[in-house]
Symmetry: D2
Subunit: 406 residues, 4 copies
C-alpha cells in the first residue's frame, strides 16, 4: 500500500507545483539533536517516578540515543548537560559516541543545582558565586572544545520570588558582565545560545524572562551570541512563530528546544498539544530558507534543532522517538506549503485564500512521503514499530531501577 | 506612638460608622491553621535548597508551629500530611501538640507519591490501586478520629498528560465511586474538603480541574462534602472571589489553602503578589457573615482557613509568620468596609462610589489596630520582630541540615 | 485522482478496522447551524469594516445562509438573533426560509444592546429592567413557537467592571429568579441553552463566568435547561474537551457555539488556531456516542452544533463555508479514531500507544472521504471552489454597502 | 483630624528615615497627562452606552480636562487624537487650552479607523495605503509643531488574523521603512513613543506585539524613538515592572499609558485591579531616579505619564479624577520606600526583610500626606468630593446626549 500511496502522493503534490524531490532533500537534511537527560528519570516537584532500565551514566545515555538515531536516521548528535554527564575523560566519551555513530552536540551548563545558587548564579549579588558560575561555563566551553562541539546552550534559572528581593537592574548589569567574560572565552567557531523563560523556578521575575531580554544580551555581546527558543517558555497566547520570524530577520535565531505545553513549562512530547503551532513555526523557517537576503537564508540554515523534554510517565526511548517523528512530520508538512501560491494570495490581500494555502499543506498525510524518505535514508519506514519490535527495550531492563535522573 | 496612632484610627473609623470593638472581636476570632509541611524543606522540580534547622519529624514540626502560634495568637491548630507526619502513636503526637498549646487540624492524605500512582490514585483504572488509595484515605479518617480532627482535606493529583491516555468520563466515574466509599466512612462531625487544581502534576487534564468539578462531586456526595479553594489553583485571570461567593451562596465552601501566585501554582507567601485579591476574597466572606440567610452566615462562619505554601528560598518560620500576618492584615481591612455605604451605592448603581467604598477600606493602615488586638490577645504587637529577637531561630540550627522535606 | 485516492483511503481504513460506511453515515447526519448575524458586518471596538454586498435584513441573511447549505448540504438551519432579525411577520420569514430549503433554528435573545442594560439585564438590581429583559426572552420564546424552533440560546453579557459595583450573590439570586420565570414559559419540547463566558463585555466579574455557574443554574432549573459551550469563552489553557466530557456525563451538554481564539474571545473561523483541539472535542463526543449508558448516548446525539463567529476582515459567505468545512473535517477525523484500539491501550496503561491511537486519526487526510460524502449528499466535492466559481458573490454586490451589522 | 493625622504621619516617616519634604517635592513634580478621548463616549464591541453631557468637540473635551487639572493640580496637559480632535485652527485650540490653564500634550495619530486600514496601515502591503498612513503621521507631527507638543505617541493596530495572511517579516520591513520616514520628520526636540500591544484588534499576530519588538524598532531608529508601555497590553502574568526596569536601564522608556486590566486590554481605571503592581512599577522608577548613572536618572525624570482608559459605564470626569488620584496615591507610597533599607536587605540576601521593606511602604495610608500636598498645591484636599460638590457635572448635562465617541 505504501507504493500506491506514495505514487498518489507524488502525483498530487506535483500537480500542486511542489517539487517532491526537493522536499525529500530537505527532509534528509533535517537533523534533530536529542538531549542526554531525556533518557534519564525525570518528574515534577511532587514525584519522580523511577523507571526500570534507565541509563546509569553518560555512556549508557549515548547508547539509548544511538537507538533513536539508528531507527530514525536524523538524530546523529546528543546534547550533554554538565555536571550530569560529567566524566573523567571526555575524549573517551566522544570515542564512545563515535563508535555508536554519534557526535556530541550542545554543551549545557548547569547553573541551578548548587546550594550556592539559591539566589542566582551569573546574576548573584555575591562575586564569589558569580565567579563559580562563570567558571563552570568556562569549563563547559573547555568540554565543548574537547568534544568538538560548537554550541554552548545557556539556560539561566536566575530570578527572584518577591518584589524587592534584589535589584532587577543590578542583576541585569551583573548578568551582562558575566556573559561578556563567557563570550570572550568562546572559540571562533562556537556559538553561545541564550535561552529565555517566562518563569520557573523563579516566580516573581526571571532575569532572562522573554526573547527581548535574550535578544538584548545577544546583540550587545556580538555575532557569536544568539537566542535559543524553547517552545514551552512563553506566556499563554504568545505567538511563538512571530518571535521565530523576528529573530530570523535579525539573524539572531540560534536554535530550538522543542517540547509541548498546555499550561506552563510542561515539557511534553513536542507536537502533542497543538501540532499546528509546530507546523507554523516551520512555515516561518521555510519562508526564511527561501528568502532573498543571504543572511536570513543562512540563519535559517544554521538553526540548531534540539529536543528538550521531561518525560515523567512515558518510557524514555519511545517518547524520544515520538518527539523526533513529530518534528519530522510537521516539518514535512511545512515543506508542502506552496509558497508561490501563498505569496500570490498575500499580494491580492485575499485572507481566506492565503490562510487556506497554509492549512492545506497541514492537512496532507505525509506518511507515504516519510516512509519513502526513511527507506532512502536506510532506516525503517515505521521507526516506532521497528524499535518496539526490537529487543532493546527488554535488554536495558537489566540496568535495573535507579538510573540517572535530574 | 502606637497609642496616638490607635486613638486616631479609632476616631477615624468610628466617624465612618465602623464599630471598632466588633472589628476587634472578629479579628480575635480569626484562626489560621498552619501546615506541618510548611516547616520542612521544599523546592521546585529543579532543586530543593536544604536549610539548616529544619524539623526532623512531626514532633519538631509542631514545635515550630507552636512558635507561630506563640507570637501571633491565632494559629492554634496544625494540619498534618500522612505519611509525611506518620507516627507510631498519634495519641502521643496529639499530647505533644497539646503541651505546646496546639491542636491537630486537617488531615491531608497523600495520593501522589507512591510509584503505584503514576497513572492516578482514586481514578486509576486498576482496581487494586484505587483500593490502596481509598484505604489510605480511610486510614487518614482513622487518624482524624484519633487526634480529634474533623477535617479531611483531599487534594487529588490525578490526571493525564496526553489526549486519549485514559477515558475522562471513565475516570470521573471511578473517582465518584472512590469518594462515595470515603464519604461513608466519615464520622458525623467530619467534613471532607475537596480541592481542585487547574493543572500540575498532570499536564493535559486534571480530574478535579476546577471548582465546578469539585462542586459537582461534593453536591452528589452529601452535606459533609465541601469544596476547598486553594488560591493558587486557577487559570490566569480567574475571579477567585466570585467562586468564593458562589460557593458560599450554595453553602459548599469548606475552606481555603492560602498562598500567592503570579504564574502557575507558585505557592508563594499569601498576599505577596496581589494583596487586593486577598482583601476582595475577605470582602465576599464579610458580606456573607452579614447575610440575611442563616445558612450562608453559617457557612461563612465555618470556613477553615489554612495556609498551604512552599517556601523554597525563605526561612520557614518567618515565612509562615509573614503569611499569617498578611492574612490577618487583609482580613482586618475587609472588616473596615462600610457595608451599608457599599449597599447604598449599589442601590443607586453608582459604580464609582461603590468601588470607592471598597477600596477606601483597603487603603487604611491597620497596623495600630492589629497592634492593639495583639496586645489584647497577649501576644507581641510586632510578632515578626519579636520572633526574630527570640533565640528560637538560633536554637534550631542544632538540628543541622537534612530535615523533613517533601 | 479522487477515485484512486478514495479507494486507497477506504482500503487503508478498512484494514485499520474502521467501518467506512458507518463513518459516512455519521458524516451525513452531521448538521451545523449557521447564525444569521454571521452574514452581517461585524468588527472590533476599534472599527467595523463595512463590506459591500452585506444582507440588509433577515430575509437576505437567509438567502446567504441558503448558499452555505446549498454548497455543503449540512447547514439546513439558521439561528436568529432578536431584535437583529426582528420582522413583522415571523411566519413569512419562516416561509422564506422554507422556500430556500432552510428551517429556523435557535432563537437568541439580545440582552446587551439596550441602554437600560448598562448595569445588567436579568441580574440588574432594578426590577423594571429585569422585567424588560425577562419579557424580551419571553417574546423570543414566542418567536420560537411561531417559527417551530425548539432552542432558546441565552448568552448573558451581565457582569460588573469593578469590585463592589454590585453584590455578586445578590445578582446570582436575581438571575436565578429571572431564569425560573423564563424556564416556566418554555414549551415542553423546547430547550434553554445557557451560555457562559470568561469575560467581556464585563471586566471584573461575569455573572455566568464559567461552565460551573451555567451548570449550577441548569441543574436547578430542570431537565429542559442545558449548558452551551462557546469554544472561545474560556480562560487560557482551559481543557475544553474535558468540560464537554463532564457535561455529557451529566447529560447537560446542550450545544456548541463554534469559533477559534488565540487570545480572548477572538471569534475567528473555527479550526483556524488549534485544529487539534476541535478534533479532541469531537473525540469526546464520539466516545459518548458509543457509550454504554443510554442517557449519555442520547445527550451526545442531541447536541446542537452552531457556528458563532465575528468575521471582521473576511468575506462573510466564504468565511462561513470555511468554518463549516473545518467542523466537518475534524469531525471526520474523529470518526477515524479506532476506539477499540484506544481502549485497549488505556487498559494496558500504555500512554504512548493511547496517545498515538488518537493522533493517528488526526493525521489522515480526509479529503477523499469528504469528497465522496459530498457527492453522495448531492453537493460539490469542493464546496468552497464551487461557491467561488458561482456568481452569487458578484450578484450580492448590488446590495451595496451598509448592510446589517451588530 | 487631617492635622493630627499628618503630624503623626510625618513623625512616623521621619523616624523611618524618610525625608517627607523631599517626598512632597516629588509629588508636586508629578504630572499626569489625561487624554481627550477619555472624556468622550466609549464602550466595547457589543455596545457604547451613550451618556448625557459628553463633550461635543475638542474644545469641550479640553474644558472637561481642565476640571481634572483644576481639582488635582497635576494634570496640566491633554493628549490629542487625530482626527478625533481635528480642528480647523490648532492655534485656536491651543489658545483655548491656554485659557483653561492647560497645554496640549502627546499627539496620537489614528491608524485604524479608515476603511483602507483593514489589512494594516504602516505595514500594509499596498504602498498607497502605507503612504496615506505615513502622511497622516507626518500631519500629526505638523500638528505637534503647531501646538508646541514634543511627543508623537504611536499605537499601531496593524497585525493579521490568520496564519499566512501576510508575511510577518515582510510587514516588519515595511514597518521599519515607514517609521524611518516618520522619524526623519521629527523636530529635534520631539520624541516618537512606540507603543506595543499583545493583541486586539489583530488576533493572530500583532506587528508590534511586545516590548522587544518596539525596542528593536526604537533602537534602530535612533535616540528620539522610545518605547511606550501601556499597562494593559501584556500577556497574563507578565512582569510589567521588569520591562519598565529593563527599558529604563537601556534609556528607552518613553512613557506610560496607564490603565488596569484583569483579562485582556480592559482599559479600566488604573489601580483598580491590582494596585500593588502600579506601586511596584513606581518602585522601579523611584530606584532609577536615585541611580548612580546620569542617563538612567535622566530617563526616569523624563517619563511621560499618560492615562489611556475606556470608561464604558463610568461618568467620565469622576472616572478620570479617580485614575489620577490612584496614580498619585501609589506613587506617593513608592516614595515611602526606604531604599537604603531595601539595599541593605538585598546585600544581606535577606529575602523576607527586602520584601517587607517594599510592602511596608505600600501599607501606609498616604491620605494625610496627599491632603497636605494638595493644600500646598492650592487644590482641594479631597478632589473627588470637591468636584462632586461643584455644579460642573450638572452644567454639562445641557450638552445632551450624543457627544464625541470613538
Amino acid at each position: 500500500m505504501v507504493d500506491s500511496a506514495y505514487t498518489l502522493f507524488e502525483r498530487q503534490q506535483t500537480e500542486r507545483g511542489i517539487d517532491v524531490e526537493q522536499v525529500k532533500e530537505h527532509l534528509k537534511a533535517l537533523k534533530i539533536e536529542t538531549p542526554s537527560w531525556g533518557y534519564g528519570d525525570s518528574g515534577t516537584r511532587f514525584k519522580v517516578f523511577k523507571q526500570t532500565g534507565i541509563p546509569r551514566n553518560a555512556f549508557e545515555k549515548l547508547e539509548d540515543a544511538a537507538q533513536v538515531h539508528h531507527f530514525t536516521g536524523i538524530c546523529p548528535s546528543v546534547a550533554l548537560h554538565i555536571p550530569w554527564d560529567k566524566v573523567e575523560d571526555y575524549a573517551q566519551l566522544q570515542q564512545h559516541a563515535s563508535h555508536l555513530g554519534l557526535t556530541l552536540g550542545a554543551i549545557n551548563p548547569n547553573l541551578f543545582q548548587e546550594d550556592d545558587y539559591i539566589f542566582g548564579s551569573l546574576c548573584n549579588l555575591q562575586p564569589a558565586i558569580r565567579r563559580r558560575a562563570i567558571d563552570h561555563v568556562l569549563e563547559c566551553i573547555e568540554v565543548a572544545r574537547t568534544v568538538n562541539s560548537s554550541i554552548i546552550s545557556l539556560w539561566l534559572a536566575d530570578g527572584t520570588n518577591y518584589p524587592g528581593q534584589d535589584s532587577i537592574r543590578g542583576r541585569k548589569h551583573r548578568l551582562f558582565e558575566s556573559l561578556q567574560e563567557i563570550y570572550q572565552a568562546l572559540a571562533p567557531e562556537m556559538r553561545l545560545l541564550i535561552e529565555y523563560k517566562f518563569f520557573e523556578p523563579a516566580f516573581y521575575h526571571t532575569d532572562l524572562g522573554d526573547w527581548g531580554m535574550a535578544y538584548n544580551m545577544a546583540l550587545k555581546l556580538g555575532p557569536q551570541a544568539e537566542v535559543l527558543v524553547d517552545t514551552g517558555h512563553h506566556a499563554q497566547g504568545t505567538n511563538v512563530e512571530q518571535i521565530v520570524a523576528y529573530l530570523l530577520d535579525e539573524q539572531k535565531l540560534g536554535g530550538f528546544h522543542f517540547n509541548s505545553r498546555k499550561y506552563a513549562d510542561d515539557d511534553l512530547i513536542v507536537g502533542s498539544v497543538n501540532p499546528y503551532e509546530l507546523f507554523l513555526i516551520f512555515y516561518q523557517i521555510r519562508e526564511a530558507l527561501a528568502d532573498s537576503q543571504d543572511a536570513v537564508r543562512q540563519n535559517a540554515a544554521n538553526i540548531a534543532y534540539m529536543i528538550d523534554q521531561s518525560h515523567c510517565i512515558e518510557p524514555k526511548i519511545p517518547a524520544m522517538l515520538r518527539s523526533v517523528l513529530n518534528v519530522q512530520t510537521y516539518y514535512a508538512k511545512a515543506l508542502l506549503i506552496n509558497l508561490a501560491e501563498v505569496r500570490q494570495a498575500q499580494e491580492q490581500q485575499d485572507v481566506l485564500a492565503a490562510e487556506s494555502a497554509i492549512r492545506e499543506a497541514f492537512e496532507f498525510d505525509v506518511t507515504p512521503l516519510l516512509q519513502v524518505v526513511r527507506e532512502e535514508l536506510g532506516v525503517p519506514a515505521d521507526p516506532m514499530r521497528a524499535y518496539l519490535k526490537s529487543d532493546y527495550g527488554q535488554r536495558i531492563l537489566a540496568r535495573g531501577k535507579g538510573g540517572a535522573s535530574w
